[in-house]
Symmetry: C2
Subunit: 321 residues, 2 copies
């Protein structure tokens, strides 16, 4: 099986066929048509085996996670997914692995009407690069840069589970067995908050997805917006499993400073709070207000007793050791 048949066999069909794709996989490039009243959001991420996912991760989960991570970036911009391009670096052309990978990819892609329009496969140490495009009405893209003093800070879902899941796989976390499946699921199959991002378009003043950790990612909003924030540690949303971890002597580091949860963190002018909470309830997406934007620079994390919590880890950084 050669490169050309690989691409054609697994990645030219997948049940998604968009009207705005003039030419899909199989030429030197794809050709797409844009709506005149839209702008386009483009995002890309590359995931390496052993760095962004454990080497033992199934092909299905590798595909699912790589796509979810990129969809999450579109979500953070309020964009609706449209087209994807895939770079696959593979140690060998294993048909079964590829078939599983394609299943994981299309399982998620179909739900968002995302069409794979291009790709490239090369031999090398396992890595998955994706480039996604999504649409937003002109001028409506969410950015990190609009938070203002007085805005409320929200986080979707819960944070820290992906880090616990990784710790369980690596044998560094001791937690009751009954929590394991849920945590490993959250590590391998994060839920991109695409519909939630779309709902936030006309309301949120700033948004980001939690890939590097709450402290680091909220920090990006603060520096881009030129503001500071006060958050309450007791309001940071964690799962029952994470609560059990805390009860057993675990600390907040995973919830605050490890990424990989792909929840959204955003800021809202207070007048939008009720409407957004209602919309999120109808999407069945848990939502928690964790603090407030303040004029003074810096992030202040208050514990239950009112004292300041000091976070040592500043988020995942690929070039720090």
């Amino acid at each position: 099986m050669n490169e050309f048949s690989l691409i054609q066999r697994f990645f030219t069909s997948g049940g998604v066929s968009r009207d705005d794709v003039v030419l899909g996989v199989g030429d030197d490039g794809a050709v797409v048509r844009c709506s005149p009243d839209q702008e386009w959001v483009m995002t890309s991420d590359i995931l390496l085996a052993g760095r962004h996912f454990p080497k033992a991760t199934t092909a299905y989960d590798v595909a699912y996670k790589a796509l979810a991570v990129n969809l999450s970036d579109l979500a953070a911009m309020g964009a609706e997914p449209a087209w994807a391009s895939l770079q696959l670096v593979l140690p060998e052309a294993d048909e079964r692995w590829l078939s599983d990978f394609a299943r994981g990819f299309y399982e998620l892609a179909k739900g968002y009407d995302l069409q794979l329009v291009g790709g490239d496969t090369v031999r090398g140490p396992l890595a998955v690069g994706l480039h996604l495009c999504g649409g937003v009405p002109t001028g409506k893209a969410l950015t990190r840069g609009g938070a203002q003093s007085g805005d409320l800070i929200y986080v979707t879902g819960s944070v820290g589970d992906a880090a616990l899941g990784l710790g369980i796989l690596q044998g560094t976390i001791d937690l009751a067995q009954n929590h394991h499946p849920q945590l490993i699921h959250r590590l391998n199959r994060p839920t991109p908050r695409v519909q939630e991002g779309i709902v936030l378009r006309d309301r949120a003043s700033a948004a980001i997805d939690l890939s590097d950790g709450l402290v680091a990612d909220l920090g990006h909003i603060l520096s881009s917006s030129g503001v500071g924030a006060n958050i309450e540690l007791g309001r940071v949303p964690v799962s029952d499993a994470y609560e059990a971890y805390l009860q057993g002597g675990g600390d907040w580091a995973f919830a605050l400073s490890h990424g990989d949860d792909y929840e959204l963190c955003f800021t809202l002018p207070p007048e939008h709070a009720v409407a957004v909470q209602e919309d999120f309830a109808s999407l069945a997406c848990p939502l928690r207000q964790i603090g407030t934007i303040e004029p003074g620079a810096g992030l202040r994390i208050r514990q239950m007793d009112g004292s300041l919590y000091r976070s040592d880890r500043r988020g995942f950084d690929h070039f720090s050791q």
Copy 2:
């Protein structure tokens, strides 16, 4: 130096600032605006050290080649370059390497008004992934699929030099020293035929860039178009250096079956031949008609004596051994 400052330091400015970029590097995604009368061509390629370029290649040349390879795909579609997104996998955050890489990238990008709008840097074995978007007037993108019996087949520039350059670096080719610099230059800094692709928009019936070798890439045009072809070996354009290699006992394999030259191969209805030759002369781009499209499937390569040449190698395939 961490991931965030790496990206910002080297890749947020580079002298290109397009009006249609609403938001560039630095958020979860870039935001761009499309013209209503255009379609967009998207292409991506990933290059791995030791596979797509020798490990000793300078950072400047790695960047130059990675971008040229992707620009060449846009050229083959007749698209005008617009936006780029970069995935950089680096063994370490070496400032000097990055500075050289950025110089090589922008040297080429500036000439095509291509703006880098997004990127991602991660630690790992050296690799460069690029995703490019370019514009074409609606319905005008060139594809591989329109060649018809009677069309003339053309190749730009010359083929085989990049393969000779690689052979020289690897010490497997014996050729007079005076040819070395030119051949190594063609390996490291291919010339994407972007203006030539634009000129072909309303004339060529099919086009492809020569990344896998003439036999394989022309083969893609033939299979996509459902036709065959007859080419004359004596008309395949090669450089003086390649002529010297042939004189010294070398064969046609590099010119026919090794890629990496990034010239264009295209087919023209005969009525467009004169106008295209004139346009290419004004672009100072060498152009050679090498054969004709025929109804019968398959590629026939005729030698000077009229006999058929048999090509063993079918083009570079990342998964064949």
